[in-house]
């Protein structure tokens, strides 16, 4: 793992996979940037935790999953949702609280889920996705459906007791479970150095006998290489595996947190090794794509978002009558 933009061998990864990974990074980046604008315009209410800067993790991990594999996400969950196959239009509609949203406007940003594609949902409780993911993996082992489950957690989540409990349970049962810890180095505003003595979190997995890796979370290709191998091992019954992906947010904890506690020089360093930059470089170095060809991918992403926004704005809201009926049987 390193911050340098290393050159990679040509054709070591299928061009379609590389394009898919880059497209996902670009989609998430655009979704978040536009989402923040909508938030500032007052169209999105409540909480909004941007995934800006961390896109390479969701994109790299999910490129190694099969359709129908399960993921459990975090409070910063838009990226995971996009990366695991959700349509942007249903996501924008959800963030706007509309009935055509993935959760009909009942869930919102913090609880967005895409059950059909195996996204068991974002989660407002830090660390709670670990036992849920272990349970999904347990279901797969018992039913024998061949699925692998990835739980995305965070450095903050590793200090919740369920981190150890659930990873340990996955280990004693050899579950098809990958725990991806996105170490963005802050739990809300508390730097990781104040939250734990040893900041190399993958060692916690090793300490309980779980194969564990540390990757550069800003490099979607490295994330893909390591996690896709881990996912395949889990599919063969050699799980669980823990992966710590080191990254850095581009801003504060949520849209209204200016992140004044994040040192400028560190922020600049991580922006210099941003997943967009890395993804573009990989497409050029490894697949021989030109800037024009990569820009065309971005343009498709922008067009898709424009349509999605129109769709979402045209969508109505669940009525009070419908809501009351739902509540009666809840």
């Amino acid at each position: 793992m390193g911050g340098e933009l290393m050159a990679r061998k040509k054709n070591s990864i299928d061009t379609e996979v590389l394009k898919k990974i880059y497209r996902t990074v670009s989609r998430i980046r655009h979704f978040e940037e536009q989402g923040i604008k909508l938030y500032r315009q007052g169209l999105i209410k409540g909480y909004f935790h941007p995934y800006l800067g961390q896109e390479g993790i969701a994109a790299g991990v999910c490129a190694g999953l099969l359709p129908g594999d399960n993921i459990a996400s975090t409070h910063r969950g838009h990226g995971h949702c996009i990366a695991h196959g959700a349509e942007v239009k249903g996501m924008v509609a959800e963030l706007l609280g509309r009935r055509d949203g993935y959760c009909k406007g009942y869930g919102g940003s913090m609880h967005i889920a895409d059950i059909q594609n195996g996204n068991l949902g974002a989660n407002g409780i830090v660390g709670a996705g670990s036992p849920l993911g272990v349970g999904a993996a347990l279901a797969s082992q018992i039913i024998g459906d061949g699925k692998v489950t990835v739980t995305f957690s965070t450095d903050g989540g590793t200090n919740n007791g369920t981190f150890l409990e659930s990873l340990n349970m996955a280990a004693i049962w050899n579950l098809p479970f990958v725990l991806v810890v996105e170490n963005n180095q802050y739990a809300v505003s508390t730097p990781i150095s104040e939250a734990t003595r040893d900041t190399e979190l993958y060692k916690r997995g090793e300490a309980i006998g779980v194969e564990s890796h540390r990757v550069d979370g800003n490099d979607p290709i490295e994330v893909y290489e390591v996690t896709s191998r881990a996912i395949e091992k889990c599919r063969k019954g050699e799980g669980p595996i823990m992966i710590e992906a080191v990254t850095y947010r581009h801003a504060g904890h949520h849209v209204n947190d200016p992140g004044a506690y994040m040192p400028e020089d560190r922020l600049e360093y991580y922006k210099g090794i941003d997943p967009i930059i890395r993804g573009r470089k990989a497409l050029k170095d490894m697949a021989g794509l030109s800037d024009t060809e990569i820009d065309a991918i971005d343009q498709e992403v922008y067009d898709e978002y424009e349509e999605a926004l129109e769709f979402a704005k045209a969508s109505g809201e669940v009525t009070a009558e419908e809501f009351h009926e739902f509540a009666m049987g809840y």
Binding site: N70, A72, G101, Y102, C103, K104, G105, Y106, G107, H111, A113, I115, Q116, L120, G121, N123, G124, I125, A128, S130, P131, L132, G133, V134, G135, A136, A137, L138, A139, S140, Q141, I142, I143, D145, K147, T149, G161, T162, E165, S166, N168, M169, I172, W173, F326, A327, Y330
Partner: protein, 328 residues
């Protein structure tokens, strides 16, 4: 097929056994439930029959045992997590309250959580403060949970079978004093749907509403009162959520007097909530104030005499019923 007399714990086991035999997605995890067969022998023999994949002992990790059950349910299985004592379920409250109960709403009704948490509560046998509490009101308060509290072997089997065939998260709350009680139970499988209280005895003078182990004390009280020519209608609620208010109201409209008996402490309890519904719907039927018989507002002490003093006894229910009869 015929019915025969078996114990509450055997009735529970029959429900588990049958559902495991017909549905390969049903499995059980818990502490000491596999080879040991559980502290109350409910899962005895299931390991041999269904193997270690589907009957698993867990580490002592309540939050993640419950969470794994919830996650497995979301992902399409039919998990049962057994928690030794309801007091220990407090370690898993996030997974119950924030995950299981809210999931259906948060997913816009696209997801469901067919998860059953089996556990037991109640005072009995000097097991002291952290192994004796009655905590159903905590779960009753949470929208989305089904709170099931069987009192008889017949109810135990029918309600557990139904729990494993419906799609909502279920808090299946047993009582440590009930496992060895006996009753007639059909050999075949059957379901008791939620929200269907049973009128155990019919009478004209006073209604007694109870659930879990308190039902047995209510029946004992009814026997005493009947001997004194008081007509008692005992209602066995079976489930607190959903709550069968129709059966309660019909009885109160008939008897005009009601005693609600719970083992749990009075403050913030289910009995108070039932009383609020009665005064709202049958205020003009009442000939006497609603009586609530409940535990003292204190944790359960170790000393047996004090333990007994902290939870209601049959004579407390008798006394409460007689107080209602003092009103014309």
């Amino acid at each position: 097929m015929s019915a025969r007399e078996i114990m509450y714990r055997d009735a529970l086991r029959e429900a588990l056994d049958h559902e495991m035999s017909v549905n390969p997605a049903v499995f059980i995890i818990g502490e000491g439930i596999a080879e040991r067969g559980g502290s109350y022998k409910v899962t005895e023999g299931l390991l041999d029959k269904y193997g270690p994949q589907r009957v698993r002992d867990t580490p002592i990790s309540e939050a993640s045992m419950i969470g794994a059950g919830v996650g497995a349910a979301i992902a399409g299985a039919r998990p049962i997590t057994e928690i030794l004592y309801i007091d220990f379920a407090m370690l898993g409250m996030d997974q119950i309250v924030n995950q299981a109960a809210k999931f259906r709403l948060m997913t816009g009704d696209r997801g469901s959580v067919p998860f059953v948490m089996r556990t037991q509560g109640g005072a009995g046998g000097a097991v002291a403060a952290q192994h004796s509490q009655s905590l159903e009101a905590l779960f009753y308060h949470i929208p989305g949970l089904r709170v099931v509290m069987p009192s008889t072997p017949y109810d135990a089997k029918g309600l557990l079978t139904h729990s494993l065939r419906q799609d909502h998260p279920v808090m299946f709350l047993e009582h440590k004093h009930l496992y060895m009680t006996k009753g007639m139970v059909p050999e075949n499988d059957y379901e008791i749907e939620f929200g269907q209280a049973e009128v155990m005895t019919e009478g004209e003078d006073v209604t007694i509403v109870a659930w879990s182990h308190m039902l047995l004390k209510a029946m004992e009280a009814a026997e005493t009162l009947t001997a004194e020519n008081v007509g008692v209608e005992v209602i066995n609620l079976r489930t607190l959520s959903p709550l069968d208010t129709d059966t309660i109201m019909a009885s109160v409209a008939k008897t005009n007097r009601v005693v609600i008996a719970q083992e749990a402490v009075r403050r913030g309890g289910v009995a108070s909530d039932i009383a609020s519904y009665i005064q709202e719907e049958e205020f003009y039927s009442l000939d006497a104030p609603i009586e609530i018989v409940a535990g003292l507002n204190i944790p359960i002490p170790f000393n047996l005499s004090l333990e007994k003093a902290s939870v209601p006894q049959a004579q407390d229910i008798v006394a409460a019923a007689k107080r209602t009869l003092e009103h014309a």
